[in-house]
Chain length 202, copies 2
DNA sequence: AGAAGTGGAGAACGGACGTTCTCTGTGCTT
DNA sequence: AAGCACAGAGAACGTCCGTTCTCCACTTCT
């Protein structure tokens, strides 16, 4: 098996298992069994479990943010783009294997004992925060509003993770809409906002 | 040593250690060392570690909510009472040993593997949510606003836990103020709100 | 064909930790 | 004073798990 393929399979299995059961509840042998990559190869690719965890968080971070950006980029109007974030969160929450935010969970598990993991979590949250700041700036809003939108999103993730429902996304969206309106965003009033992509007319 | 005293000391040590380092990073022997309660006694009081964890979460929940309620009850005006929640969160975040929300952390660590722990987390978050719903109702606001206030608070806890700062509380407070204003709460406009307790004129 | 390197399966090692057990001392009861 | 219940200290046990090692089949190059 090619090294790249092995790496991909190992990370696929690690992501499935770590995210689904928690990092500490999954042994390297579980990863081996689920990926078909032998222990020897696993340790060649990732010399310690912690590095596999970090690689899992990094790869998931890249994909998560790419998917979010892709969804948001289906819209052009700045206010709509902001609200689209919460629509996308709602879709995420509805996925059958959704188990909360991988980074918040990892931080709860390892933040106090593993500096590399804690760093990855901070990096991910920082990048998401900057993404929202960018959206806010695009709507002519101050960065403070970006921070508020961030808090709403984080709260929705945590709440959806713990309660298992999807409606925190709707509540966060509604709150965001109010905040945008009060901040005088360059945006329509917008109950109709976000019901369908403007260009996704396929 | 009296049984009640031993229980209290065990829970004190468990709380300090579990909250500070994470549950899985702390062994029963650490609890023994920190509490001075022998292993035999520990297992008489809590037949398994999981029960010690549950007891820790329950006791902390009672104290956390009592302190929050106590702070909020220093105010009478409904809008002020709501904003006081975020002031209190800011005080909490500023405590030197603050390491995020104990329940969110515990859920990330054990939510997938321990149903009793997951139940305790849901119970705590449910109670906090109801507390905010009550405050919202007191201000003549619909329960939906309570949900939004809840998301802001949760987001602030997570963000403060990960980044280690206290300013998420201020950001959440500001967002809450905007939401209250937009929802037409029976409340003053309120930059001056919450700077000092109305009756704490000592 | 033979040699040498590669990779996989899985045993083995070492430490950590949840839980139980043993031993010893102590204070209380009769 | 003798016996007894209990408590503490800490050893012991069993399991789990991260990591390494052994052994063997297979490929590849000369």
């Amino acid at each position: 098996m090619d090294s790249e393929v092995a790496r991909g399979r190992a990370l696929d299995a690690a992501e499935r298992l770590f995210y689904g059961r928690g990092v500490q509840a999954v042994g390297m042998d579980d990863v081996r069994g689920d990926s078909g990559v032998s222990l020897k190869r696993l340790y060649q690719l990732f010399p310690a479990k912690e590095q596999l965890v970090v690689a899992y968080l990094e790869r998931r971070d890249a994909r998560w943010r790419a998917r979010l950006a892709e969804h948001v980029d289906r819209y052009e109007e700045p206010g709509t783009r902001i609200l689209a974030v919460y629509d996308w969160l709602g879709q995420w929450f509805a996925e059958p294997d959704f188990r909360g935010c991988a980074w918040i969970n990892a931080y709860g598990e390892l933040g106090a004992t593993s500096a590399p993991v804690a760093d990855r979590v901070r990096a991910h949250k920082g990048a998401f925060r900057e993404f929202l700041d960018g959206l806010a700036a695009g709507a002519g809003l101050p960065a403070a509003v970006g921070g508020q939108l961030f808090l709403l999103a984080e709260g929705a993730m945590v709440t959806a993770g713990v309660t298992g429902g999807t409606e925190p996304a709707r509540a966060a969206r509604e709150a965001a809409r109010v905040l945008l309106g009060a901040a005088g965003a360059d945006t329509p009033a917008a109950d109709a906002v976000g019901v369908s992509p403007p260009s996704a007319t396929r």
